[in-house]
């Protein structure tokens, strides 16, 4: 038993010593080969594990890593700035492309919702929605359309739909459904561009705004000096017919906002409505302007055309208009002055024989600073309030009434708020006297209109 134990001890002991030696050799080899690696991976080893060469190696590694990080940062910055540059370039090209696309076809529109409350009449809402489509299908050919969507009357119609051949600054050719260049108001009739809801009586009963017709024309601009420019717009159109009205039947008269409409007294019903000409004679209409310093504009318009089916009797019209926007003049630069006069004479007609009228308007634009901190100003970069005063007069000479004339004069005081240029809320009060449209009924109007 003792022998067997001894034998077992003798047998085990050489194997154990060999194993121990092998483990010791491997440990030494491992220790000698990888100490730096081990210390680099374990920076927080207890102090008894570190020694001077290890610390030097550690610092070198940190320095190397720092240099690498700096290199990577530099490379990254370089690549980032290159990418930003490329992105900027792409954005600009995209912007130009969208600009080009915008030039090609642009869809827009304008709308109006108006409320009116006139003494002894029921209150009403009226509205207007118009679609605007413009664009260029060649660098020198552009088109423009304004389509009334028929709110509230239910019948849509083209108010403008023409194509321009752009030849030179001084001469360009236009054809299609043309806005008649007679007076400034007819050409600039968009509701959001106006400062009062109601149009002046002269622009409704004398000049039948919105007045457009089928035809062809030419327009251009001629510089007469650094500060003076002349423009012209001349058209050959079907022209007015003999469907004008001197006296309303039934007494109810029209409203430009569509509120109370029965029969359109004046020249409104004489418009062709884009039908074919009632006679073979074409009418000629045109407007010329002089613009001084791009602030003061004076315009002269003329119209001449046969109106009957069977004779050559003429309607002859003239108009004068002015618009002053003083700039750089302290105090006055916040004012705008507008005025327009129009007259039509009808040959061989007694009801009516002639029609004329005018309006004068003054706008004062302001913005009190305290409103900047309110909801009216907080979210907008350039909001404005405009105080407006207008006086208008119209007269229709007609044998249909005993004293030979129908007149109306209107004084309007209004205020409007524009948070941005193309959105406006208007309120106004009218003082009316006469027999044409509002008669002697005073009333309140308010509207919201927008353009995009």
């Amino acid at each position: 038993m003792r022998r067997s134990l001894k034998h077992r001890r003798n047998n085990a002991s050489p194997l154990g010593s060999h194993t121990s030696r092998a483990i010791a050799i491997l440990a030494l080899l491992f220790w000698g080969a990888c100490p730096n690696f081990l210390f680099a991976q374990l920076p927080n080893l207890p102090s008894q594990l570190s020694n001077q060469p290890l610390e030097d190696g550690k610092e070198n590694s940190v320095e190397q890593l720092k240099r690498k990080v700096e290199q990577i940062q530099k490379q990254y910055q370089k690549e980032l700035s290159e990418l930003q540059e490329r992105l900027g370039s792409v954005e600009k090209r995209q912007s130009t492309l969208s600009d080009e696309l915008g030039q090609s076809v642009k869809l827009g529109g304008y709308g109006l919702v108006a409320f009116e409350d006139f003494r002894d009449r029921k209150t009403t809402y009226a509205g207007k929605m118009e679609l605007l489509i413009s664009g260029q299908f060649h660098d020198r050919i552009r088109f423009y359309s304004e389509i009334d969507l028929g709110v509230p009357h239910g019948t849509s119609e083209v108010e403008q739909g023409y194509v321009d051949l752009l030849l030179t600054q001084a001469f360009n050719f236009r054809a299609g459904v043309l806005l008649t260049p007679f007076g400034k108001f007819n050409l600039d009739h968009f509701d959001p561009r106006q400062d009062l809801t109601d149009r002046p009586v002269v622009a409704r009963r004398i000049t039948p705004t919105t007045w457009s017709d089928l035809g062809v024309g030419a327009f251009g601009l001629v510089p007469l000096g650094d500060s003076l420019k002349a423009t012209y717009d001349i058209q050959v159109i079907n022209g007015l017919t003999d469907k004008f009205t001197a006296l309303s039947q039934g007494g109810a008269l029209g409203s430009s906002t569509g509120g109370v409409v029965a029969q359109d007294i004046g020249l409104r019903d004489a418009r062709t409505g884009l039908r074919t000409d009632n006679n073979g004679n074409k009418a000629v209409v045109g407007r010329g302007t002089l613009k001084f310093l791009d602030q003061y504009e004076v315009g002269v318009s003329g119209y001449r055309g046969a109106y009957k089916e069977t004779s050559n009797d003429q309607i002859v019209g003239t108009s004068l208009d002015a618009e002053f926007r003083p700039r750089g003049v302290p105090f006055w630069e916040d004012f705008v002055f507008k005025a327009e006069y129009a007259r039509f004479d009808i040959e061989n007609s007694s009801a009516p024989s002639s029609l004329w009228g005018y309006y004068a308007q003054i706008n004062y634009r302001f913005w009190p600073a305290f409103l900047n901190s309110t909801v009216m100003g907080r979210h907008f970069s350039n909001p404005a309030l405009t105080l407006v005063g207008r006086y208008g007069y119209a007269r229709i000479n007609t044998a249909a009434v005993s004293d030979g004339k129908l007149t109306e004069n209107t004084t309007v005081i209004g205020l409007n708020y524009r948070p941005v240029q193309n959105y406006v809320i208007k309120v106004e009060y009218q003082f009316n006297s006469g027999q044409l449209e509002r008669k002697s009924l005073d009333g309140f109007l308010a509207s919201v209109s927008w353009l995009f």
């Binding site: 370039s89 912007s95 600009d99 642009k106 423009y144 321009d164 601009l221 423009t231 717009d233």
Partner: protein
């Protein structure tokens, strides 16, 4: 006694009024900066007159003499440089909208939010024209674009 007091008061009032006026004038002059009108470096146009630049922004001139379409660059409505450019070059308020000759079509322009962005755009796009404050252009570096008009401060 009271007459001399009145005279003194009047003098003081005049002095204060004069100082206020001088201060206002100084602040007005200090606010006004020279404006540089810039175009792309490859634009062959010679230096332009102020009227010619105004005609472009008014929508009356649509093409460069070489036939390329003019691409207008504007700053946002609230930018001081736009206000000055509109007042001094276009005779208009900074939010005024111009229309293409004989139409109700608004003149279109690219709106950039900084002078640097205007310079970058004009430097990238041939046919572009923009305006920046002259002092900013010097900081940004005018070698990327061509200065075609300088509107001096009044």
């Amino acid at each position: 006694m009271s007459a001399s007091r009145n005279t003194n008061r009047r003098r003081s009032t005049s002095l204060i009024a004069f100082l206020a006026l001088a201060l206002w004038l100084c602040s007005t002059i200090a606010q006004a900066e020279s404006i540089a009108v810039i175009v792309n470096k490859n634009n062959p146009s010679e230096p332009l007159r102020q009227v010619a630049v105004a005609d472009m922004y008014h929508g009356e001139t649509l093409n460069w003499p070489n036939g390329e379409r003019i691409k207008l660059v504007n700053r946002e409505i609230s930018a001081p440089v736009r206000k000055q450019f509109y007042e001094r070059v276009l005779n208009a308020k900074s939010d005024e909208v111009f229309y293409r000759q004989g139409t109700p079509i608004p003149v279109q322009s690219v709106i950039e939010r900084s002078d640097e962005a205007v310079v970058n755009f004009v430097a990238t796009i041939e046919g572009a024209i923009g305006y920046v404050s002259l002092s900013n252009l010097k900081k940004i570096g005018s070698d990327q674009v061509k200065v075609i008009l300088i509107v001096e401060s009044p």
